[in-house]
Symmetry: C2
Subunit: 249 residues, 2 copies
């Protein structure tokens, strides 16, 4: 079976790498950014092109949500399966006469980080059982956690990830702003952060909540508000309000 990956960003690179590491050959990487393609091609020993898309049985589109529709039009072959990798798009965004599908890896990718692909969940959607099985077999070569999902479910998966990952990272940014302002190294907080995150591997986060809001410690809540301003103050108020609502304080 011939597989082509379209795109030259982090998802394209990591997916291609994971396939190659697990004896799933990738026939070509196709994209617009020649410089990036050349780098990936060299690292992973996969041919690339910016001009001619190879004939393949499976095309995996790893480009930004905005470009998926446009890029999907480049595939003119009919007897093939096309998968996008977005958590936020239906499969009928794919605008060709081929079979449509989605292969959504639930992970945040950056080129510089090594990833443990085995534990990255893959969510699969396809139009028929055969295609579902094909994608499922491929993803299972990389990962232990391969599951089916609908578009509707994918939206909520993505939204959960925004809370648990994007927003969490932003809290780290705002926390670092506060510690930087006092010349306290942010590294001092890493054990605390690791402990906080380690806990939810064992306990439901709802039962792991600590801090002044869940204790309803008004003195500290007021003192903290006086130390904050602008967006950080808004976050402080919104989060405390939400904590107190959750625990009915």
């Amino acid at each position: 079976m011939q597989t082509v990956i379209i795109g030259s960003g982090n998802v394209a690179y990591h997916l291609a790498k994971a396939f190659m590491l697990n004896a799933v050959p990738v026939a070509q990487i196709f994209g617009r950014n020649e410089q990036e393609l050349e780098k990936i091609s060299e690292k992973l020993q996969i041919p690339y092109s910016t001009k001619k898309l190879s004939d393949a049985d499976l095309y995996i589109i790893c480009v930004s949500d905005q470009s998926v529709g446009e890029v999907s039009r480049l595939i003119i072959r009919k007897d093939c399966l096309v998968a996008h990798t977005s958590g936020s798009l239906p499969i009928d965004i794919l605008a060709g006469e081929y079979r449509k599908s989605s292969l959504y890896p639930l992970q945040t990718f950056s080129k510089s980080k090594k990833l443990d692909y085995q534990h990255i969940p893959f969510f699969i959607e396809a139009e028929n059982e055969e295609d579902r099985k094909l994608l499922s077999d491929m993803a299972s070569a990389i990962s232990k956690n391969v599951m089916e999902s609908t578009y509707e479910k994918r939206k909520y998966i993505h939204l959960t990830a925004v809370f648990a990952c994007n927003f969490v990272n932003h809290l780290f940014s705002r926390a670092k702003e506060i510690s930087d302002s006092q010349k306290i190294p942010f590294d001092y907080f890493l054990p605390l952060i690791d402990e906080t995150v380690g806990k939810i591997h064992e306990i439901d986060p709802k039962y792991a909540q600590t801090g002044p809001a869940v204790r309803n410690d008004k003195r500290i809540l007021e003192m903290h508000e006086e130390l904050l301003e602008d967006e950080s103050l808004e976050i402080y108020k919104t989060m405390n309000h939400s904590i107190q609502k959750l625990y009915e304080l």
Copy 2:
């Protein structure tokens, strides 16, 4: 040197345990909750009392912020050092004629979790150099990260921890609510969460931000808002606003 720990909660237990594990003897654990004291006493082989506070050179008060002042009055001896363990109180909350100090462990404690004490930062404040050295030596027996701090600095340390730990945990709670609503196991998100947190051991979180807000992806931002309500919607809006302000979008 005789050391007494006052309190029977998580901080008292973990501090006593860390001292005992590192050959710093604790002469007594004192408190009101006999049941808890008995448990700690049995586990750590330290005598306890609910009635008679032993004579000691150092008393470490590990009780809730609200009780520190009241509890500190129980110590009538003058020639001794008393430390509270709060991140949010000045040392003159201690209401006796003894020498006053603070020994603040920057960590979230729960009795059931094993902790790597070595990497827990301890922040120390005392009235004179000798007491600072005494506390610093004791804390250094447990931890590699022992530092001085003022009350003012402690307030910001605590506030940073609220953002990086308490609020992060609450985001996990709200994220789990979303995944639960779709019957998606929250465990699927743990690799993503670990990756997100692993990153900030290497990169400034400001440079690790991903997600629809930093990409200014209005389609997804609007779609997500339609899936949310109440506190989660408020969090969604507040966090996105803060992200867009930080990156000047």
